[in-house]
């Protein structure tokens, strides 16, 4: 790990101001992703701003019947919150399908959203990787790509976004709230948070440099049956090959986001009118334009079958 200086802050405004002052600084939330990457010198911040105690650790009702989740709420607390369990079950399920009990105790809402890819070549610093070292090439495209993206990827990068929680939030139309060093706040729909890689896979989100996530807002409950189905190489403690976050309504309509297939949770609202026509028609539209590799074309069949399973479960 490279040496760094360290600072604790006590308010969101102080955190945002502190980061503007220090070149090469990063926020440290739970640290479960950042420290992992710092040990491998994939991340080399010169300064850490520990935001673990800036408040923002509560889940509160919003004026229009939704919930505001503080950026520092732990993944365990979010999954266990009675209102989340009752009205936003897909989010609780997505969280519980991720990582381990220990990690969920430490991992935070904002840190989970901003965790970096698990592409094995991104982690192997001996390999070229456009995300880690822009312009160096991509070892994954001609390498082992079984876990990697089949859609939304580019010739520069085929990494997936690894979060389960974000897939649940995508189905729920969550909105991310931020503050910048000038004290300006804004709201970003989660569908606008992540960038597709194009030629610049190292630019992963539409956040400004030094922007602090303060909370994630969920709209008022929409009802329906909430399902999160994660397919992985072992029954627990593994990243998704494919996951399906679904909110299904009695009239056959629904909201469905897919994890494990793209650089961001994959949702195509325009395709959702095909949900009542069944998995095949919906999956075909949802995955239109997919560019799988030999290694991961199985994911297209897996997406369709997992959706089929979920639709069946929604009816029963």
């Amino acid at each position: 790990m490279k040496s760094f200086t360290y600072q604790r802050v006590t308010t969101p405004a102080e955190a945002a101001a502190a980061i503007a002052d220090k070149p090469g600084a990063k926020f440290l939330a739970g640290g479960t992703n950042l420290l992992d990457l710092m040990k491998l010198q994939i991340e080399t911040p010169a300064h850490l701003i520990d935001i673990g105690r800036i408040g923002l650790d509560k889940i509160e009702p919003t004026a229009n019947g939704g919930l505001r989740i503080g950026a520092l709420v732990s993944n365990t607390d979010l999954a266990a919150d009675p209102k989340i369990r009752k009205d936003y079950g897909v989010l609780s399920r997505a969280l519980l399908a991720g990582a381990s009990g220990q990690l969920r105790n430490k991992a935070t809402t904002a840190g989970n959203l901003l965790q970096r890819t698990r592409c094995p070549y991104f982690y192997d610093t001996n390999q070229p990787c456009n995300k880690r070292v822009p312009g160096s090439g991509c070892a994954a495209i001609a390498g082992f790509s079984k876990q990697l993206a089949v859609i939304g990827s580019s010739d520069a990068c085929i990494a997936t976004h690894p979060s389960d929680m974000a897939v649940g939030m995508m189905a729920l139309d969550a909105v991310v709230e931020t503050i910048n060093p000038a004290g300006k706040t804004r709201q970003i729909p989660i569908s606008q948070l992540y960038r597709l890689p194009g030629k610049t896979p190292h630019l992963e989100t539409n956040l400004e440099k030094n922007e602090l996530i303060t909370s994630v807002v969920l709209p008022a409950p929409v009802g329906g049956t909430h399902i999160y189905h994660k397919v992985r190489d072992r029954a627990s403690y593994a990243f998704a090959l494919v996951s399906v976050a679904a909110i299904l309504f009695k009239d056959g309509s629904g909201k469905i986001a897919i994890g494990g297939v793209a650089p961001r949770p994959w949702r195509v609202p325009g395709a959702e009118k095909l949900i009542p026509s069944g998995a095949k028609a919906f999956a075909a539209k949802l995955m239109e334009g997919a560019r799988p590799t030999q290694d991961n074309k199985y994911k297209l069949a897996l997406v369709e079958r997992t959706i089929e399973l979920v639709l069946k479960e929604g009816k029963s």
């Binding site: 040496s3 479960t32 040990k39 520990d50 365990t76 399920r93 381990s100 009990g101 430490k106």
Partner: protein
């Protein structure tokens, strides 16, 4: 970081640790001059001097004040600075659970946490759960049910199992819970899912589950 595993395995444990501590500066210099593919491709970085900072937390009921390199993980602070070597380092990347300790009653991986993140926290390690004279019920149950072979994962398994019983009591759901809104109960399936962050290379899983079931009264 990688040195610690070797240390654990070497016979001359103490002298090797002291030797390593003494050569820390030399090791740092070596690491800085080593040119990997990535460093070669990026612009030369300024040499950042080692930075240290103070932290104070309670470990097993005793207040501890440390002045440490900012990079020190909670795990390394326990093992290398406080010499509480019950907590083990397996992977150092959050993947095995050997380093599990309780922080303010909640289990975390101490390898993925900076010591500095724990100012004023209360930490319980395997040494604080019980002593050979006065074992914690989970420790006794592990012995009774043979919940280990080599024992390397065991401190993490025990700390984790103690926390799992509390999590079930607190009504925290898991991936194995059929109904998110129902009362949480100890079952074999619930325990196994909740313990998936603790890997046992010797495969003592079924005995570990029996030990925990006995403590849970299930």
């Amino acid at each position: 970081m990688g040195e610690t595993m070797k240390e654990e395995n070497s016979a001359g444990n103490i002298s090797r640790r002291e030797m390593l501590a003494g050569t820390a500066i030399a090791v740092t210099t070596l690491a800085l001059t080593k040119v990997t593919g990535v460093e070669a491709a990026s612009p030369p970085q300024a040499v950042v001097p080692v930075v240290s900072a103070e932290v104070s937390f309670t470990v097993n009921g005793k207040i501890q004040k440390l002045e440490i390199d900012t990079r020190t993980t909670l795990l390394d602070s326990l093992r290398e600075h406080l010499h509480l070597t019950g907590t083990k380092k397996g992977c150092d990347h959050g993947q095995c659970g050997a380093c599990t300790v309780l922080v303010n009653g909640k289990r975390i991986n101490s390898c993925l946490s900076l010591a500095l993140q724990h100012e004023n926290d209360s930490i319980t390690t395997i040494e604080g759960l019980g002593t050979p004279e006065k074992l914690h019920p989970m420790q006794s149950a592990f012995i009774k049910h043979d919940g280990y072979q080599c024992g390397y994962c065991t401190p993490g398994q025990i700390c984790s199992a103690v926390a799992v019983l509390e999590e079930i009591k607190a009504g925290i759901p898991s991936h194995a819970s059929g109904d998110l809104n129902a009362e949480m109960l100890f079952t074999n399936a619930e325990f196994r899912e909740r313990m998936s962050g603790n890997i046992c290379r010797c495969g003592a899983y079924s005995n570990i589950a029996e030990a925990a079931a006995e403590v849970a009264g299930a």
